[in-house]
């Protein structure tokens, strides 16, 4: 990424505390993060270290307790940035077909919203079908969610996150509940989608191989209070392949990440040396 370009996502001295009175949880200590436009950043770390909290802050779902969150150089919420989100749980609506589920954001997000009535039967439908085909779900548009497997639902959920061409894609452990083979298949699909559309992606994951395969940067976090302790660049050539994950360079990256996380879980002394 171009170092001089202003960051697309910018957390500046952000802190976040949940709850109030004497029952507060400091989810994020002072945190700074800059993500360039079109970059792909993975957040890894022990559970409870504030990864989901960062996504919620960047999306504007919760306000920062201190500091600023900027997206596209404007304070979050003020900017008309399109955001797509996908979670571990696909949360498709059971009363809609897969295609209708994928088209849901078009019904809500401007400028598509205004055209929805006129175009839902033709242009938007084709758009959804094209995306479904790209993730390997061609022909499943008319099925209902209960007719699909978990991996297929997760593909559909990815389509729903991408249909409105978001500038910002937020993925919170999207492949966490899938088996290894499905997961690897979806890595390749997600990489393709990212390479063709270039949204700015924040990916939360527990899988270090996944982080190394997909991201340009991996941020390692630690808990209590949550903060980013290491920011590793990942510069393997694209498109990356599964074979590549067995090469020495990749293996030593995942090992290094693993050590960082293990030391982040250990008592403070060990952490300070790592950070």
């Amino acid at each position: 990424m171009n170092e001089d370009a202003p960051p697309f996502v910018h957390l500046q001295d952000v802190r976040l505390t949940y709850g109030h009175g004497d029952r507060t949880v400091e989810a994020l200590g002072t945190t700074n993060l800059k993500v360039g436009k079109g970059d792909f950043v993975a957040l890894v770390g022990p559970s409870g270290c504030g990864k989901s909290t960062i996504l919620k802050l960047v999306t504007g779902l919760i306000p920062a307790s201190a500091g600023w969150v900027f997206v596209a150089q404007r304070e979050v919420g003020a900017e008309p940035v399109r955001v797509g989100m996908a979670f571990q749980n696909p949360t498709l609506l059971p009363w809609l077909t897969i295609r209708q589920n994928v088209m849901l954001p078009l019904k809500i997000v401007p400028p598509f919203r205004q055209q929805y009535r006129a175009k839902k039967k033709t242009e938007f439908r084709d758009r959804a079908d094209a995306l479904l085909e790209q993730v390997g779900l061609a022909g499943f548009g008319d099925k209902f969610p209960w007719q699909l497997s978990g991996g297929m639902l997760q593909r559909a959920s990815l389509c729903r996150a991408l249909i409105h061409d978001p500038q910002l894609l937020m993925l919170d452990e999207p492949f966490g509940a899938l088996d290894q083979f499905t997961r690897e298949e979806l890595w390749a699909i997600l990489q393709d989608l990212w390479l063709t559309r270039r949204p700015t992606v924040l990916l939360v994951t527990h899988d270090l191989k996944e982080a190394g395969y997909l991201a340009n940067r991996v941020c390692v976090m630690r808990a209590r209070p949550g903060r980013i302790v290491e920011d590793c660049a990942v510069d393997f050539v694209r498109p990356r392949t599964i074979e590549m994950t067995y090469e020495p360079g990749f293996v030593s990256l995942t090992q290094r990440l693993r050590e960082l996380i293990v030391s982040a879980r250990a008592p403070d002394a060990a952490v300070e040396s790592a950070a």
């Binding site: 797509g84 989100m85 609506l93 809500i108 409105h164």
Partner: protein
Amino acid sequence: MTYALRRRLNSAAVIIGFFVVWELACVIFHIKEIVLPRPSQVFETLWLQAPAIWPHTVQTLYTTLVGFALGIISGVLLGVLIGSSRLAYDTGYPLLIGFSSIPKVAVVPIFVLWFGAGTVPAVLTAMIMSLFPIVVNVATGLATTEPELEDVMKALRATKLDILFNVGLPRAMPYFFASLKVSVTLAFVGTVIAETVASNQGIGNLMMIASSSFDVPLVFAGLLVLALLGVGLYAIFSLIEGRVIGWARRKDDAGFA
């Protein structure tokens, strides 16, 4: 198909069996008709007095449906309000529970005082009887939206109305229809209570008059009419339910109707 048919035949046999046992019990134990008439007597009364019973049936059905319709409208509105606003939930729920604990028969005289005897108190009683399950179920349905789905919607900058129409209301539909089936039978109860206390029309009134002249078969004929109306409406709402929210039941299930 054959399985569904067999299920239906089985249930028909059990229902017919129920009436046969009743009939036999009356004959074997020499039960007087003033205590418990035989089903054959009840059906005979129903047949012979049909011209007299019919207008009352129409009146009761009409009153119930109007009251039920009002109950649905106000129930859905209240349910949406309570299900989507914290303040409305905190104040509305206790009020609603308090109100629904009042025996409705105690409310009828108040309606009569306000609106005079006749159809209006019966409609209102049917309405308030059917209200409670609808409100509770709609509110519950709205309140059970997954937080992650809500995040997805909010990230799209969906308005409260967007979320209500695209997620909340469809999600509440199965709860709503489940409540309709209960509510429609409650609406009948409400109508009949009011007709018994304060009306000169309807099955409730018919049964009042019949029992005061010890015409027990006619009382039972009235009960039978009510039961049939109740089952009929329940079946209609099950059918609509199956059409509208088949997704909630998934695959095939013969269901009720």
